[in-house]
């Protein structure tokens, strides 16, 4: 064999797998679903039943990987930078639209931008609920907001962290109602609830599933919700929309994304798989147990929801601005 032939053979050997990859039907190997938050959080607990149900449709393993850190930025940056071949997906929460805005405010290079992702489907969307302690003086949202208007900056609330989802919900409300509330950030939704129960803050915006047991036990009172409609489990609690604050709309949502540039046939396959997965009986019972209603949207519908939500959140983050500048 001449030297040239050897080289040609080597080149061919190297090229072959590439050709095979380009032609193989999707999916033909395990898929990684990145949950950018630790096990036990909303993203993780949604990702696992979704992955299990998608496995059945795609006939390939879907492995949930928790890539955590920096309020989700680590995992989202990882997916944004990974190969757009449909083998690395992201289960994101609304923080996907918040983090780039916060980066902008601080003038730092963004960890990722929203347009690095192609939306596949919305899985769930839970409106936040405004809760106060049962022994607090406010019986209705109206009383709460009136009092907040009178005692500007005196009524405090806890959140899951600055620019976090629970902070944004309250921020949207206080701007819609034109009141000023005092913000006490905590490291997560659990500590935020503890702060309210312990009497260290006056109010909290929280997802319904976490506070329902506390409401049933007579510890907390729900005043109003941020949803478009009332929450099924709390039919007597009005929405802020009904009370005349249509801008106070906010959801804790979970959706599936792929990196931008993923081929359209692959995205189509993923959309079909997600639709089938959401109808899966095991998936439905898993979400039921966590008292998280399924809110499936895809294509144009999801894009519209996502854009409107991102716009509201961007506006909210800008209104908060840089906290240390205000002092």
């Amino acid at each position: 064999m001449t030297r040239r032939r050897v080289l040609a053979a080597a080149a061919l050997a190297l090229a072959l797998p590439l050709v095979a990859v380009a032609q193989e039907p999707y999916p033909s190997r395990p898929i990684t679903l990145v949950a950018p938050f630790p096990p036990g959080g909303v993203a993780d607990l949604t990702a696992r039943p979704v992955a299990a149900a998608m496995e059945k449709v795609l006939k390939n393993p879907v492995a949930v990987v928790n890539k955590t850190g920096a309020a989700g930025a680590v995992g989202m940056q990882f997916v944004a930078a990974s190969k757009p071949d449909g083998y690395t997906l992201l289960l994101a929460l609304s923080s996907i639209s918040i983090i780039p805005e916060a980066d902008k405010i601080f003038g730092r290079p963004p960890a990722f931008t929203v347009d690095q992702f192609a939306p596949i489907a919305l899985i769930s969307a839970d409106p936040t609920i405004l809760v106060v302690r049962a022994e607090s003086p406010w019986k209705t949202a109206r009383e709460f907001l009136d009092d907040a208007g009178k005692r500007s900056g005196q009524i405090s609330y806890s959140s899951s962290g600055i620019y976090g989802t629970l902070h944004m919900a309250m921020e949207l409300l206080s701007h819609a109602a034109g009141v000023k509330l005092r913000h006490i950030p905590t490291p997560g939704a659990g500590p935020a609830l503890t702060a309210l129960l312990g009497g260290h803050v006056d109010a909290l915006a929280s997802g319904p599933a976490v506070i329902l047991p506390q409401i049933k036990a007579g510890k907390l009172r729900a005043l109003a919700g941020w949803g478009d409609k009332r929450v099924a489990a709390l039919p007597e609690v009005p929405t802020f929309k009904e009370l005349g604050y249509p801008d106070a709309e906010f959801y804790i949502w979970a959706g599936l994304f792929a990196p931008k540039g993923t081929p359209e046939p692959v995205l189509a396959k993923l959309r079909d798989a997600t639709r089938a997965a959401v109808g899966d009986a095991d998936f439905r019972s898993a979400m039921d147990k966590m008292e998280t209603p399924i809110a499936f949207k895809q294509g144009e519908d999801f894009q519209r929801f996502f854009d409107a939500d991102a716009r509201r959140l961007a506006e909210g983050v800008r209104k908060v601005g840089r906290v240390e500048d205000k002092k």
Binding site: T68, A73, G198, A217, K289
Partner: protein
Amino acid sequence: MLETLGNLGLGFSVALSPPILFYAFVGCLVGTLVGVLPGVGPLAGISLLLPATFGLDATRAIVMLAGIYYGAMYGGSTTSILMRIPGEAASVMTCIDGYAMARKGRGGAALAIAAVGSFVAGTVSVVGLMVLAPPLAAFALRFGPPEYVALLLLGLLVLAYMSSGSMVKSLAMAAFGLLLGMVGIDQMSGYFRFAYGVVELGDGLGVVPVAVGLFGVAEILATAGQPAPPSVIKPKLRELLPSRQEWRESAAPIGRGTVLGFLIGILPGSAHIISSFVSYAVEKRLSKHPEQFGQGAVAGVAGPESANNSATSGAMVPMLALGVPSGPIPAVMLAALMVHGVSPGPLLIQQQPALFWGFIASMYVGNVMLLILNLPLVGLFVNILRVPYPYLYPAILVFSILGVYAVNGSVVDVWIMVIMGVLGWLLRKLDFETAPIVLGVVLAPMIELSLRQSLAMSDGHYGIFVQRPISAVLLAVGLTLVLLNLYSFARRRSDWRTRIALAEKGEESP
């Protein structure tokens, strides 16, 4: 009381059923392994195994996860004592005197005392959990940010007792640790501090890579730097068990560690880590021979190891009685309950008596299992010391890197460990102690957040710390401690610390 016994009967009928017994055993076994492996702690272990519990029912899942949690506290002491590598962050204090004991040929005794101390603490604290959960949980809730600041300041004061040498040096190390704890996203403003564009640093320097680096890697480097390899210790079988004297010296520390650990465990935060630091400081303060600490004092092993085990039961109090997490580990366990359709909340004990009492009973059973599992293993583990260093240390280094990487799947963490290892080696050469650095890294983010939360609550008025009764009392206790020390310092200038310093000087000058 009669009702409690009846309920406990129900609990044992659940806990002793073969499937629950099996999952409790699996949890304890996995926990022990997770504890033994350097770096991998209970949080990583529980997180990795959470998905595996989705197929089980709620009681089995929670029994298994709890087994991992307290099992890890048993296992964590093993590598700390034998190799000076903290198996998990709560075992840092055990490294100091445990390892010193092992160097004297008392490694087996240290392991046995750690296991028995853990058993006593585990069992007694479950009694506390069972009898006192609802009232204690209500009390724990009253600990808001201002109370926490006062408590943590008190915690910083005990730092002074941790050092065995120069007070200035150990305070310098604590300050350095506090500074390292400043790295990461500022919780109040969202600002990235000292991250230099590395997104992974947003969460700050993890306790695990810092502890494994400063202790484990530094120890390996120090040993490698010695002109002749240290002699291999060949433990004899009759030396495995603690002597009568050692039992006597560890009885009181185990008791104090149990109570301290349980009380600290109830409070939110990384309580099991802090409890071991506090217990060590208390034992050193109360000891008649504080100069022995750092040289292989039995109390320095018995106290912290009991405290960190007891703290795990304490951490379950707010979780079971109120449905709120007291730290990251109970948060994952709460999620496990929610996945199974059990809503954790104030009504859990009434609505799910079989689950609650079964869980309590399984903790009694689990602690017995762990004792039976761990005591025979003492003989086995001690034999690791027979392996010559050229083979043992590279293997430990590999395990440390794997363990640290596995926690977050982050290479940045491995780099932190390596850098801390080199730093720890340098500091040891210069006779600085590194345990205060770890305490600083643990405490800094908590103190800072609580302080700034408190000031946000009061709109910037420092009066909030003295207006609230619990924080006022804690601050008063701290102030009294400082004054008492100043008094004794002024009256009797040469305490044990200066005696040691003098003795060391005497040795150095020929």
